[in-house]
Symmetry: D2
Subunit: 137 residues, 4 copies
């Protein structure tokens, strides 16, 4: 799996001169979209199946501020998956390899009506891809 | 018409220590939503009629930076309306009455399929409200 | 302590038609600023003392989406404080009293040079205010 | 000059299902930072000279919505420069080469105290680079 890179933007800074803490939550989303594309399930493909994966929870520990115009390396891992919920982990480092932050997001899968989708039954290929990924870690 | 007030948020600042210029565009939207509600056409009512008013253009001249945690007073006026397009003007002042910025947005009206809506025929009450407002200025 | 109210803005929505999950992190900041002002320690006062309180961690569980243009009620509580770190809790409800999300942020206190500040010694009044608050819950 | 590419992010969409209009203002900034780096004046270099270039005005005409996860090509040109102010133009196209929006920003140059800087006298190399660029168009 290739890491995702985010270039810090000026508009992401705040008056402390560093990146505002809310932006790291957005970078997790960027990296997650890229991660799903890498395992063959990009957003359009999931959307075409009528499946969305809302965020149930987010956790982030800030270790060292990111600054404009640094490039941040984001490594994404599948941390947990049991057929209904998935937990994805993120580790962000700056160009010096220093840890910037660590985070996790929890997701479920729902159909167009907002009803839970059991991936094993309704998207068995996606289910298999996630299980293979979990086993390989 | 009552002015709209926006309290500057910390997350709206940038590393220059002032509000990032993109946020004033968002405040125009806040003030516009409030303005439409004041003339009896809040967002839900327009939406219930199946009408959206996308932004065609935006212009903003920045005069003096806004800072956290100032309260900004936004006066909204209808600048132009000829049945198809509308131009709305915004004047933002800080608590000392100093001009912060002036801006304008142009909008059209479209139905759910993205087709232009002629307000005079399809939403005559809204059309009349806009004409009355223009005449009163 | 008075709850804080946030009016959902159009620009806070995403293509799912609901508020994007990153915005709740920003609303926690809004509510926290208001909370500190209510206990007599607004941002300017802390800043005048040369003290900043960076976010060390954030956690948020999303229960029910907020939608434009709802008003969200945010109750803030001091959850933990031992002289160096503080944990603040947030409970957001919509106008029907339904739980929208619950979150927490952890903070430390630093001086202008980024060095940790021991509140009991350097800002005893603020330390006392926090201890009183913790005891009263 | 190489165009700048921006990948549309999910968090940049709004409930109309398209990119919120405020984000194009931010993309102009991204493209401008890249443009200045390409002509040898990246942000750090200007900052090291104690020079900032605040935005005086922004204008944007929206032609066709950008959608997640499109890649947008942004061509930047120097439109005007007379020693004190600069006007930069932006043309954004989607992957099909369709025009998404056109915009302009006006900037001045100020020192650390916020006082105007005359580039010809104080940053003659930057002044020359801008003049050469204007002449070449």
């Amino acid at each position: 799996m290739q890491p995702y890179f985010h270039r810090v933007q000026y508009y992401e800074t705040d008056k402390m001169g560093i990146v505002h803490h809310s932006n790291y939550i957005r970078w997790m989303e960027e990296a997650r979209v890229d991660f799903l594309a890498q395992i063959g399930w990009n957003f359009e493909k999931l959307e075409a199946q009528g499946v969305a994966s809302p965020v149930l929870a987010v956790r982030c520990s800030y270790k060292r501020p990111a600054r404009f115009p640094e490039q941040i390396r984001i490594a994404v891992v599948l941390k947990d998956y049991h057929g209904v919920r998935v937990t994805i982990g993120y580790r962000m480092e700056n160009a010096d390899g220093m840890l910037v932050c660590e985070g996790e997001t929890d997701h479920c899968f729902v159909d167009g009506a907002g009803q839970p989708v059991r991936l094993r039954r309704e998207l068995p290929d996606f289910d298999a891809a996630l299980r293979a990924l979990l086993a390989s870690d």
